[in-house]
């Protein structure tokens, strides 16, 4: 219990410092985003001072002291209000994130879980049959695919499957004539559009999980308790799953929790290559347009996602690893 309380305090401290950094960083950047924004709003003629003032007010660009802005910033966060996006004005940051988040959660969430489960199982299996022909083939193929530069690989896939053979669409989250909604044709179209991005993510990420699990498992198999269990005559399957894999999976679990936290940020390269309407594209647009309110909103989501995932990983570790429970959390 003490362990969890301590972790909880750490969580709050991390959140506070991350949110404060999130507030400070854009304000420390060189250049003036307000001027860039005005340049964007400017027509062909020269705006009058009233117009410039009105636009600044409308975008929430303030000349208040930093401390006052900081207090306001906290107030807004508690109201889940991140201001208006510069790039998508008059739409708010919350509106843009609401639109993008479901796409990313579905595509990146599902592929992250799939990649972890398949990769880990393949790792266990490869370690169990280590040295066999299958192990060397699977492991070396996965090592090879996971070292592809993602952008290059995805473009090749688009080129072959969406251009030369035209089997899959080359971009978008769903058929362009459709309106998002819960009906069969829309869902079918969304799934169809997600196949290429999902496959490319899987191919490039499976190897990491598999390799790590295989290595952990192999070192676990050499531990004394496994030798003892084998000497006791336990069935091979119990030995592999309950003894070796249960201990070998601990580092992988932490990694998995971290990557679940990062799901919120989307996968920028994936989403850019496929023009997928998710958080990665949104973040890319926010950064390239110097849209600070939108960037801050997205970074906040990422911070919360990662910090929470870490916290959950700690709890899961307690459940999986009795040593942490008994040791009072010092391990």
């Amino acid at each position: 219990m003490r362990y969890l309380v301590r972790r909880g305090i750490m969580l709050l401290l991390t959140l506070w410092s991350a949110i404060t950094l999130n507030f400070l960083l854009p304000r420390m950047m060189p250049g003036n985003p307000a001027e860039v924004m005005l340049a964007k709003f400017k027509g062909k003629g020269n705006m009058g001072p009233q117009a410039i003032h009105a636009i600044k007010v409308m975008l929430g660009i303030s000349n208040e002291s930093l401390f006052k802005q900081y207090l306001q910033y906290w107030q807004e966060i508690f109201h889940w209000n991140f201001g208006v996006s510069y790039t998508y004005f008059p739409f708010s940051v919350t509106h843009m994130i609401d639109q993008a988040l479901p796409w990313t959660l579905t595509l990146i969430g599902v592929t992250t879980v799939l990649s972890f489960v398949i990769g880990t199982l393949l790792g266990i299996w490869a370690a169990w049959t280590r040295g066999s022909l299958l192990d060397s083939v699977v492991t070396s193929v996965l090592t090879f695919t996971s070292s592809f530069p993602y952008f290059w690989f995805a473009m090749i896939v688009v080129f072959l499957l969406a251009f030369v053979t035209n089997v899959f669409p080359n971009s978008g989250g769903y058929g362009s004539q459709m309106s998002p909604g819960f009906n069969l044709s829309f869902i079918a179209s969304a799934v169809y559009h997600s196949i290429l991005p999902a496959v490319t993510i899987l191919v490039s990420s499976l190897g990491g999980w598999q390799l790590q699990m295989r290595n952990n498992m192999i070192s676990a198999l050499n531990e004394d308790y496994v030798v003892l269990a084998r000497a006791k005559g336990l069935p091979e399957r119990v030995l592999a799953i309950s003894y070796a894999a249960r201990n070998a999976i601990l580092p992988n679990m932490t990694g998995f929790a971290m990557s679940l936290g990062f799901v919120v940020s989307g996968a920028i390269l994936v989403e850019l290559v496929f023009s997928y309407p998710g958080m990665g594209t949104l973040l890319y647009n926010a950064v390239s347009n110097e849209d600070y309110p939108l960037m801050q909103g997205i970074f906040l989501m990422i911070v919360i996602g990662v910090v929470m995932a870490n916290f959950v990983a700690d709890i899961v570790n307690v459940a999986l690893d009795p040593r942490i429970r008994r040791g009072g959390g010092d391990s």
Binding site: G31, E35, M47, G48, V57, T87, F91, Q99, S179
Partner: protein, 550 residues
């Protein structure tokens, strides 16, 4: 200014792969003979989805609103030719009073008649909500009032060129917009306009416009349906789609358009990258050595401008006239004898001679030395503008040959913009203003009123040029309604450009524009430049009364 650079994710690989692999086209085979497929325009980037915003005053509105709202006059951005549109005529009663006569018989798409009151309402709304007034018409206007079928504009100060901004303001219906509480944040989800098209359907990835059957010049509009699929974030995907022939027209940048687009179907596929305003090399005129006219003239000879245009800009952006005039559209203004007299061209020997006439000499290391040591300065170009960075490298090597050291830096776009505004730079490249006639270019770049002391924001005269004579000429122009007098003033400003070299015009920025005339004809091109294909207001008004099915 952000539509032109799409090469961030340019993979040279795809360009060459497409070459090898596509023999047959997907889209061309699907069309049944006899029926014309809808026009597909790949122009609105969405990024990555559209937001349902049709407010014609919003900088983030979908481009489709340009087909729905109209302006009082259509003015050709290249040469300033005027065509009456929602107004039938206009008259300057004095340099401070302008009257438009409104076209009779025009209807809003909801059936209510279009009147002078709508025009007056639109302008007064811009006054009430200054954030909408992005062209600053109310910096010179005093009042706008409807009188019968005319609208009278009273000015605070004489400003004849402001006609252009007034004439190009989209007009909205009073019956609808007067009920809108805050037109600044209004997204206008079901736009009602006077224009040639109506919104037929909208999804975040595509919107479709259909012809407005009650349009006031419906007989001229021949294109029935226009699809606007969202333009992919990934330039490579855009190039694949272009190469496949998925678009009737597009405004994409591609480094090798001949290979990836035209060569796939040379009979029908064409490009016309209409030249727009000259991009300028800016020098900070408050600093040594740029405050010396002879040094600036030497720069004009020292820099290989033809090479910058042909290599740095892939040859897409032609060499600009040293007068800054947009040619050939502004040929009528060009004083050829003046140009011949100054005869600027790439001539390092002449540049060296000018520099030595200033008393600058090379030292033993080959560096040109001034009173404060070797001459060296920094040139900034925004990061990601790969063509400009290449241009800067050419300039750097040209000047190195003369013993001048140039450090090229690539700050972020926002740093670049604010450095220019506050005047904290030595040398940079910047877009010039292109519109209607040379006055706007000269006014924005040379007027003292658009400058500011170093450290404060200048409006557009970033190099900080200031010349009482030029200011007087610009003022005279703004008060003149006589074309002959205006031309004389422009001639004198050309002389200032050539003699003083306040900026060095480098090349004309291009309007990327690819089109396929298999099904639709009547596109503007170099031999018939009746409009600049920008796919924005007011150019679409004109373009879509000319396009028709083959």
């Amino acid at each position: 200014m952000n539509t032109r650079r799409m090469a961030l994710f340019a993979l040279p690989l795809i360009g060459s792969l497409t070459l090898a692999a596509c023999g047959s086209q997907g889209a061309t085979s699907t069309a049944a003979s006899g029926s014309t497929p809808p026009m597909v325009l790949s122009v609105d980037p969405g990024s990555p989805l559209y937001t349902d915003n049709w407010n014609p005053f919003s900088p983030n509105a979908v481009w489709g609103q340009a087909w729905i709202y109209e302006t009082l006059y259509y003015i050709d951005a290249q040469n300033g030719h005027q065509t009456p549109w929602l107004a039938t005529s206009y008259k300057w009663n004095s340099p401070t009073q302008l009257t438009f006569t409104i076209r009779p018989g025009v209807q809003w798409s909801n059936g209510t008649p279009f009147t002078a009151n709508d025009v007056a309402f639109t302008f007064n709304m811009l006054n009430k909500f200054p954030a909408l007034d992005t062209n600053g018409v109310w910096t010179v206007l005093k009042s706008v009032a409807a009188k019968g079928n005319t609208v009278v504009f009273d000015f605070k100060t004489p400003d004849v060129p402001a006609f252009t901004y007034i004439a190009e303001t989209p007009i909205v219906p009073e019956s609808i917009w007067s009920k809108v509480k805050n037109p600044v944040t209004y997204t206008d989800p079901h736009p009602v306009g006077t224009g040639a098209y109506l919104e037929k359907s909208y999804t975040p990835q595509e919107f479709v416009l259909v012809k407005n059957p009650h349009y006031w010049q419906a007989s001229k509009v021949k294109v029935q349906t226009i699809d606007f699929p969202v333009v992919s974030e990934n330039a490579n995907t855009v190039w694949l789609n272009l190469s496949e022939g998925k678009y009737t027209a597009a405004n994409a940048f591609a480094p090798n358009i001949q290979k990836i687009y035209i060569s796939k179907d040379p009979k029908y596929r064409h490009i016309w990258f209409a030249p727009s305003g000259a991009s300028n090399l800016l020098m900070n005129l408050t600093k040594y050595p740029f405050n010396n006219v002879t040094f600036r003239q030497a720069m004009a000879y020292a820099i290989n401008r033809p090479k910058v245009s042909s290599k740095g800009e892939y040859g897409y952006e032609p060499l600009a006239s040293m007068t800054g005039l947009t040619l050939p559209a502004n040929n009528a203004y060009l004083d050829k004898s003046l140009v011949a007299q100054y005869n600027y061209h790439y001539d390092p020997a002449k540049a060296a001679q000018l520099l030595s006439s200033m008393g600058l000499k090379k030292n033993s290391q080959g560096l040109l030395v001034g009173p404060n040591g070797p001459i060296s300065f920094t040139m900034i170009v925004p990061t990601g503008f790969s063509d400009w960075i290449e241009d800067a490298a050419i300039i750097q090597s040209n000047l190195k040959a003369l013993g001048i050291t140039v450090n090229v830096q690539t700050p972020s776009v926002s740093t670049w913009v604010s450095d220019m505004q506050t005047g904290t730079f030595d040398m940079t490249l910047n877009f010039g203003l292109n519109q209607y006639n040379p006055y706007f270019y000269y006014e924005s770049d040379l007027a003292t009123s658009n400058s500011a002391p170093i450290g404060q924001d200048a409006t557009s005269n970033y190099e900080r040029y200031s010349n009482q004579n030029v200011d007087n000429l610009l003022n005279e122009y703004a008060q003149s309604t006589s074309a002959t007098q205006q031309k004389q003033i422009i001639d004198q400003l050309e002389q200032v450009m050539l003699q003083q070299v306040p900026v060095i015009p480098m090349f004309y920025a291009a309007n990327w524009n690819e089109y396929d005339n298999r099904y639709y004809v009547g596109w503007p091109d170099a031999s018939n430049p009746y409009v600049t294909p920008t796919y924005a207001l007011p150019d679409v008004e004109m373009e879509f009364t000319h396009l028709k099915p083959r």
